[in-house]
Subunit: 144 residues, 4 copies
């Protein structure tokens, strides 16, 4: 679990005067890449090893509205990781008030250079170990 | 049901060489606003009447990857409309091959200028009627 | 010279109620890639030959404001092309009224896979010929 | 003069494997709004007083390429401020190496609620004074 902060930019607002909903999907990515970077296995490292990790599913529920110059805190949790699938959950809250803005989920797989799904556990055991060590919570990381 | 076409732009790609997943959420919006515009009740018309229709929920499942210069066809269906909630489903397919790229859903409510949820049926009966006439499918439009 | 049309999307607006200025830079790209595609030498074709054509300079002057659902027409002109540098000029106008929204310029070079600048005339004469044939105006295309 | 930091996000890359050029225009805005916020006269404050400050001109020269996860430092300077026009210059450098990525400029005017250009000096003397006090360099701030 990690808290990532983002300040709302002017270019992220729309004519409703609030943050355009598509930006939360981008913030999930910001928080996710920060989490993996902190675990020592950033997207950059993975891509240099020939692994890409595309988004397979994403969803968001919008609870209240973020505005320009607000600072939001995004809490990210690993919900599932077994080397084949990585699933995360996100909670976006206003930093000042704690008010919940948005919750979300994303699901990812791992592909090799040829674009085929792989198991990190088998094909990149070092990365697999680094990720499981970084996120050791047994309730959240399931090794099916 | 309506088919909306979008040509993938260079700025929509990411360093994986594919369309960044957040853009599908924007394409859903493109397709949705085109659908409402065609029904004569565009976002512009609604906002000039003091109604905004924020996204309450959005989700996407990514099936295959769209690339720069591909033309995608987005089929949009009204799944629910009762004047309080509008729910839509999206299907993104490659124009040339028909291959499925992505499916998605979104859910919207209607707010007045004060930011309070309203029932279009009660407060904007003309818009309500225009929308129900434009999308008359009884299986899809439920008037609870 | 080619006219490219773009309909303003909701996600392109900002809380001023107008199109965010950064999107014009993206529209220039839309118009530019359409122009090259029409000439038979799209970015896709060039990249498959190992040539990338990054933006070296871009500028925009904002004259009036485009709004959601407006259709803008972007007129693109090749200002210079000598196989080493490609320079274009853009004019964005409202389709309905003809009102000028924005003018702009961009400058591009050509790089090979190693990231080194190349002369298309020497290293990709076929592409050079296709581009000069597509845009033969002697006043605008200078072969220094 | 202020240095603003931005970490390159995945969604800011394009299929060239570098930051899409349009994002630098957005980073200029990030740096500019941070500068004004620090001076106590943020865009938010101005808009709540009925003043908007649209971009009249923007330009960028791309010198070298920023990549995913790079941290860039953006140095912003007020080049001109007379209450009618605000002009800024930007320098984007890699944080680690200091390498220059991009330089840029932007020019802004001030409009009232009716959309008419105003002189801050006459119509919002407090804001004018706050901005001139925050950026007192006589060589750069010209009061024509």
């Amino acid at each position: 679990m990690q808290v990532y902060e983002h300040r709302v930019q002017y270019y992220e607002t729309d004519q409703m005067g609030i943050v355009h909903h598509s930006n939360y999907i981008r913030w999930f990515e910001e928080a996710r890449t920060a989490l993996l970077r902190q675990a020592g296995v950033g997207y950059g490292e993975m891509e240099s090893l020939g692994i890409i990790s595309p988004v397979v599913e994403v969803s968001a529920k919008y609870v209240s509205m973020a505005h320009f110059e607000d600072i939001v805190q995004i809490t990210t949790e690993i919900v599932q990781f077994n080397g084949i699938v990585l699933a995360l959950a996100y909670k976006v809250q206003d930093k000042k008030t704690g008010e919940l803005r948005c919750t979300g989920k994303s699901r990812h797989c791992f592909l090799n250079r040829a674009g085929h799904p792989i198991s990190l556990k088998k094909e990149q055991p070092l990365i697999y170990t680094m990720l499981t060590s970084a996120f050791p919570d047994p309730h959240r990381i399931q090794d099916n």
